[in-house]
């Protein structure tokens, strides 16, 4: 399995550290709990629950033995075919906008 790092080019996956699903979002710890569920519920979802799809998966890898950038890699979990890798920072900025 080879990951196309946007900075270093295509490299073997043994140069990378795997973190997991890139779709999970750290909850806002100051938000009010939703009615009927404990305040810890969003944390339960964030820390433990995963969609775990058989198919296209967007996931976080860090190029620890290269440029050390965090990447969002799009990969099919049934075939290990990788269809793209982007800077995690770029993905986060596109999603959330620049920090205030």
């Amino acid at each position: 399995m080879r990951i196309p790092c946007p900075h270093c080019g295509e490299r073997g996956h043994e140069e990378f550290l795997y973190l997991g699903d890139a779709g999970v979002r750290r909850p806002d710890g100051m938000a009010e709990a939703k009615a009927g569920e404990p305040a810890s519920r969003p944390w339960m979802d964030y820390v433990y629950l995963r969609p775990n799809p058989a198919g296209v998966h967007r996931e976080l890898w860090q190029h620890v033995h290269g440029c050390r950038a965090w990447l969002v890699v799009t990969r099919d979990t049934r075939t290990h075919a990788i269809s793209g890798a982007e800077d995690a920072r770029t993905v986060a900025l596109a999603r959330d906008g620049a920090p205030a």
């Binding site: 043994e14 997991g20 339960m44 995963r50 969609p51 058989a54 998966h57 979990t77 049934r78």
Partner: protein
């Protein structure tokens, strides 16, 4: 037909013309008292114990492929109960006890071989951890013995004691551990369940779970709808996919674990040997092949194959532990899909949906648990409440904080 020395002799005299198929191949009925999804080791043992212990024989096991086509045939066949935590030890010890009586119970030769499991340590820290684990085991009545370097040398003289990067200091020895012929476990439970009236329905993939007003009604399959007031999921590797059909999201990631068999050699490894420094385990099959494996590949996967870097790591560990195997050739290599749970321990429990039960999250250690898993799951399904032995394996323990983190690595499925 009951298997015995007499059936063997009479068939030998008749030229083996009288053997019957080991189980029927029935058409699915419109409904059952209970349906087990997944015809692997855990599903088949669940069906067997439902029939044997709870008198529930109007039961179907539905399997998308053929019986035993998943992880029950994709492991390294090791059985042991050398666990540390209170939620785990009694469960795995119960499993080992069931293994000890299994062949007589199901009238099938599963080649249960209690050759012993030797877990090596290579540092002061891992020695202390092994001593603690051994003490925890003995407090629960499990056999455990702490061996020093010479004790290990007597059992396994071929290990590298002299020039290793991580020299063997000793080992935790569980004499009652060993190996079992894994396919025979699936076949034996299948035959025993079939003989008690359970319908084993192969090539029948579940495509949906019908739920109405919070209660399960049955499963949609490629061979039509099958109704049942109770449905048990035992499809580790694909648990997330199947549970999603009922709208449940699980604390699980699917990962691939590879294993290997070498060419056959004369008896070399008499026990199961586990090498802590490299996370590596090895035993020798009765055919002479060395059966061994290491870590999971550490990324989500549903492909039943892994990649080269982990193969490299496993071979390095093998040669580090036993330099004498360096020129052996590997004959076969395969991958199985593991339910890696968020604390490294399994789940055998009811779900928020009435009548739907789940058995999942076996991580890399499901094979040894096959009998107790089925035994406890059958109890949970039949009585609608967990047995004392699986009471800790709750689905909601992640919300309540009652985790069973044997490895102490937290919510990192790829490190368990």
């Amino acid at each position: 037909m009951r298997y015995s020395i007499f059936s063997l002799l009479s068939e030998a005299l008749r030229g083996n013309t009288g053997w019957q198929p080991a189980w029927r191949d029935p058409e699915p009925k419109a409904s059952y008292d209970a349906i087990i999804v997944g015809g692997g080791g855990h599903g088949l043992s669940t069906a067997y114990y439902l029939a044997k212990e709870h008198g529930l024989t109007n039961v179907a096991v539905v399997e998308k492929g053929y019986l035993g086509s998943g992880n029950v045939g994709r492991n390294t066949t090791i059985i042991r109960s050398n666990y540390l935590l209170p939620g785990n030890i009694p469960f795995y010890e119960h499993s080992l006890k069931l293994w000890e009586g299994l062949e007589q119970d199901i009238n099938y030769n599963a080649m249960v071989s209690q050759r012993g499991v030797l877990h090596l340590f290579e540092s002061d820290g891992t020695r202390d951890a092994a001593a603690r684990r051994g003490n925890a085991m003995r407090l629960e009545g499990v056999d455990a013995e702490l061996l020093d370097r010479e004790g290990v040398r007597r059992l396994a003289p071929m290990l590298d004691f002299d020039s290793a990067r991580f020299p063997v200091m000793g080992g935790l020895w569980q004499p009652r551990g060993g190996t079992v012929r894994h396919d025979a476990v699936a076949w034996g439970y299948a035959r025993a369940a079939d003989r008690r009236g359970v319908d084993l329905i192969q090539n029948c993939e579940v495509t949906g779970i019908r739920v109405e007003n919070g209660r399960v009604l049955g499963v949609e399959t490629t061979r039509g709808f099958i109704g049942a007031p109770k449905v048990g999921l035992a499809c580790a590797g694909n648990s997330s996919r199947v549970a999603a059909m009922a709208g449940l999201q699980l604390p699980i990631e699917s990962h691939v674990l590879q294993a290997f068999v070498s060419e056959g050699v004369k008896p070399l490894v008499d026990q199961v040997i586990i090498f802590g420094a490299g996370h590596f385990y090895i035993s020798q099959s009765d055919k002479g092949g060395l059966v061994f494996g290491g870590d999971i590949d550490r990324y989500n996967s549903y492909a039943q194959r892994g990649n080269l870097p982990v193969i490299h790591e496993v071979m390095e560990a093998a040669v580090a532990l036993m330099p004498s195997v360096s020129r052996l050739r590997v004959l076969r290599q395969w991958g199985g899909i593991m339910d890696m749970s968020m604390d490294g321990s399994p789940i055998i429990d009811k779900t928020p949906i009435a009548g739907l039960y789940i058995n999942c999250g076996w991580c890399i250690g499901g094979f040894k648990a096959t009998p107790a898993s089925g035994w406890c799951f059958a109890h949970t399904i039949a009585r609608d409440e967990p047995h004392r032995l699986n009471a800790a394996y709750r689905l909601d323990r992640f919300a309540t904080g009652d985790l069973i983190d044997e490895a102490g690595t937290g919510a990192t499925p790829n490190l368990h």
